[in-house]
């Protein structure tokens, strides 16, 4: 056990994981699952932080929140796409990943 001065986070998914053949490398499969869960939690906490900022923006700006807080509202709506549970009752365009409409 070496005492390190700085925490190093593993940001990348495992390289040798094959989705078509998940049991070829069980260790890589477990690492990939950990990676997925960690990314989902990061999304959830990011949405919470943006929500708190939005709440304070509404309080501070008062009636001007229609103009001043527009960018935070957009960020929060984007941050809550596909995040969390119990999304069956919501309209799909609000929680599914945003589909880029390609003009023909």
């Amino acid at each position: 056990m070496v005492r390190k001065a700085k925490v190093e986070f593993d940001e990348q998914p495992p390289d040798n994981f094959d989705p078509k053949n998940p049991y070829a490398d069980p260790v890589a499969m477990l690492e990939y699952r950990e990676h997925l869960v960690r990314e989902k939690w990061i999304q959830i906490e990011t949405a919470k932080i943006i929500r708190e900022r939005l709440r304070w923006c509404y309080r501070i700006e008062g009636i001007n929140h229609h103009q001043k807080c527009r960018h935070l509202v957009d960020q929060y709506l984007e941050a809550t796409r596909g995040v969390g549970w119990g999304k069956d009752a919501r309209p799909p365009e609000l929680h599914e990943p945003k589909k880029i409409i390609e003009a023909e």
Binding site: G62, I63, N64, Q67
Partner: protein
């Protein structure tokens, strides 16, 4: 509404100038429904109200000025609507009508 006003020869909108700018009203946090031609009087009135804890006998000069301005705006709108209604009733019936304001009353 615009068609009826145009038919009656009435010009909509207020003849009062807009003194307070949008930036000033946003800075003073005037509610959206009160951002009219009297907002430049409402801004000092609201400051005085907050400073005097909304006591009813305080800020009377500012409130009087603001209410007079609002009264003029309301009377102007009522006169415009009366002209439009008279024109419509004259077109439909062909007779005179009883308006909200007598013809003898003059808004100086």
């Amino acid at each position: 509404m615009e068609a009826a006003a145009a038919a009656a020869g009435v010009e909509l909108g207020s003849s009062k100038p807009q003194i307070a700018t949008q930036a000033e009203m946003a800075e003073a946090r005037v509610p959206l429904a009160y951002r009219d031609q009297c907002a430049h009087l409402l801004i000092p009135l609201n400051k005085c109200r907050v400073a005097e804890f909304y006591l009813p006998w305080k800020c009377e000069p500012e409130r009087h000025a603001y209410e007079k301005c609002q009264y003029e705006l309301v009377m102007e709108r009522m006169l415009q609507m009366q002209k439009i209604r008279e024109a419509q009733e004259t077109k439909v019936k062909g007779g005179a009508s009883i308006g909200l304001i007598p013809a003898t009353a003059k808004l100086a």
